[in-house]
């Protein structure tokens, strides 16, 4: 079924230009969004900005349930709704905007590989810290995740989500890991990214790609988020070129745009959850 939808969507997408009223939906930024969701939202925003496609940011408490895949963020363009970075990249490509067209086959393979690395290490580590570390779960995840709901729904939803994540961790062999090992994995991943980036401005030199957007989303969120302890942030802070990379993307794609759009509609940036 998805193949038919795929073909259909790419046909439709190709003919219509990018509309003015494209919207990105994400959870409430100040009181609800979690580390991992914020990273994904920021990655998609960065990607769309890199493509120079205007999009209006809308925060909804029930964004997760509005999304077709149950994951945030999702974009609403014309009569299409697409969620998550991977499908959004393909959708935008069908509309004729692509950041990775200039890459050769080997570079494309490399980009895909590093994106999988970020998803399988950083994203999983964020989920682990949020849902499997008891201190973080109690102090941050539970109050934030359940903030839009009243008793008893607030407990039910948290428990449901917690089991879902734990089941996933068990299936991929992370259930037996300690928090220390998870931090080690994050460190290993950051080291790999840092070495791959080297002294270049972006991962594939001058031109940013979706990999840059994804890495920025995750690292910037980790750098700007206060958790129960600073260990995760310290791991990322240890890599100077990654810090500079985050600042570069922030300056080039977020601050300028904010100035430009001062008179326009609200393209306001969410810079990581403002956690207590």
């Amino acid at each position: 079924m998805s193949l038919v939808t795929d073909a259909f969507v790419s046909q439709i997408a190709a003919v219509e230009p990018w509309p003015e009223n494209a919207t990105i939906y994400q959870p409430m930024k100040s009181e609800q969004v979690l580390l991992s969701d914020n990273a994904s939202c920021l990655a998609v925003q960065a990607f769309l900005r890199m493509c120079n496609l205007p999009v209006q940011v809308v925060c909804r408490a029930n964004a997760e349930y509005m999304s077709p895949s149950g994951k945030v963020p999702f974009i609403h363009v014309g009569n299409q709704v697409i969620s998550e970075l991977g499908p959004i990249v393909q959708f935008v490509k069908a509309k004729g905007h692509s950041l990775s067209d200039g890459l050769d086959e080997v570079q494309k393979a490399e980009m895909k590989a590093y994106m999988e690395l970020v998803n399988s290490m950083l994203l999983t580590a964020e989920l682990y810290i949020q849902w499997c570390d008891e201190a973080t779960l109690e102090e941050i995840t539970q109050p934030r995740y359940s903030s839009p709901y009243s008793w008893p729904l607030n407990y039910v939803l948290v428990v449901q989500k917690k089991w879902e994540i734990k089941r996933k961790m068990k299936a991929i062999g992370w259930a037996g890991k300690t928090l220390e090992q998870v931090y080690e994995d994050v460190d290993q991943c950051c080291q790999a990214l840092s070495q791959r980036l080297g002294t270049q401005p972006y991962f594939f030199n001058k031109q940013p790609t979706e990999l840059d957007a994804l890495v920025f989303g995750h690292l910037f969120t980790i750098l700007t988020t206060q958790l129960t302890n600073d260990e995760l942030r310290e791991k990322v802070k240890g890599y100077n070129n990654l810090n500079a990379f985050c600042r570069r993307i922030e300056q080039n794609y977020f601050e300028d745009h904010d100035k430009d759009s001062a008179s326009g509609y609200s393209t306001r940036l969410t810079k990581g959850p403002v956690l207590p």
Binding site: D6, P87, K108, A109, K112, L117, A171, I172, A192
Partner: protein
């Protein structure tokens, strides 16, 4: 050092991808292993493999075992630059996210392959009462892993996920083939841990005599990956890969054959029951597979029209 792993067949030193990764790396790094095959005796009852035993310590999972080898100075990666090391990590993530689900599905979830090849093979190498339980458990674990990691709305049932994971796997094989190009190994002329991982995950697909072969057909078209497997097999595994003495091996083989025959009879019965039980149409996956768009596909699965 002693390695507990599943044994070999079909021209491979081990049929189990993760065991194969470890064996290949050990050969590349020239580490001497005492190999202890999982067999029908109760010496290694849990079926957990590969496991490296060293001074009373047990190390599981290929990535942990390989980093242990490195600490023991058996390093096949010393030729790599820092960037190559990072690439290795990234490509391993790529393989685990994209090829592993399709691999698990091909061997453990696809009813035809499972009942005619995988189940009899593993049951023959498991002690008697456990042989009725362990393959089933491994199959359930595989299915669970696929559902949990790939099954998100709007893909709920295994039939829907199946189309997606095979598409991902084919794309990933294409990427690997492009990355390998015409060189012998991924980083030049010496094999490294990435070669061990790629070999471990694709060689069983390439060699296994499975009735349902759509991923294998795709792999066969990528001739450089096939040559890569053949090359590693001929240069590193040309003699018998197991560490046991030939005489002992023969006795074990003879016993195994008897047992295999018994279990095969059993499994034919079970396969029949299985087919009756699993009422989902088994031809559907193949149909879907032939429908797949070639490489850069369309929009991902989560796109759908908005219904206000």
């Amino acid at each position: 050092m002693e390695l507990r792993c599943w044994g070999g067949d079909w021209g491979l030193p081990s049929v189990h991808p993760e065991c194969l990764v470890v064996l290949a790396y050990a050969r590349f790094a020239d580490a001497q292993l005492n190999i202890n095959l999982v067999d029908y005796t109760w010496t290694s009852p849990k079926g957990a493999a590969p496991v490296l035993l060293f001074n009373e310590r047990e190390i599981a999972q290929p990535s942990n075992i390989i980093s242990f080898f490195r600490k023991q100075k058996y390093n096949a990666d010393y030729v790599l630059s820092a960037k190559d090391g990072s690439d290795t990590l990234a490509y391993i993530a790529l393989i685990e996210e994209n090829i592993l689900p399709a691999m698990l599905h091909t061997f453990w979830v696809d009813a035809e392959n499972y009942s005619s090849v995988t189940r009899p093979w593993y049951a023959a190498r498991t002690p008697f009462p456990l042989s009725y339980y362990l393959p089933g458990k491994m199959s359930r674990d595989a299915l669970n892993r696929i559902l949990v990691t790939k099954g998100q709305p709007p893909l709920y049932s295994i039939n829907e996920i199946e189309a997606q994971i095979y598409k991902d796997a084919k794309e990933c094989l294409n990427l690997l083939s492009n990355r390998l190009g015409s060189s012998t190994y991924f980083f030049g002329s010496t094999p490294t841990s990435l070669d061990a991982f790629v070999f471990g995950y694709i060689a069983p697909l390439y060699k296994a005599p499975l009735p349902k072969v759509h991923l294998k057909e795709h792999l066969k078209q990528l001739s450089n990956l096939c040559q890569f497997c053949d090359h590693i097999l001929s240069s590193y595994f040309s003699q018998n890969a197991s560490g046991t003495s030939p005489a002992g091996q023969e006795a074990i083989d003879a016993n195994l054959q008897k047992l295999t025959q018994l279990v095969n009879k059993e499994s034919i019965l079970i396969a029949k029951m299985d087919n009756n039980l699993r009422r989902s149409p088994q031809n559907r996956p193949q149909k879907l597979a032939t429908l797949q768009p070639t490489s850069d596909g369309g929009i991902g699965n989560s796109a759908q029209p908005l219904t206000p």
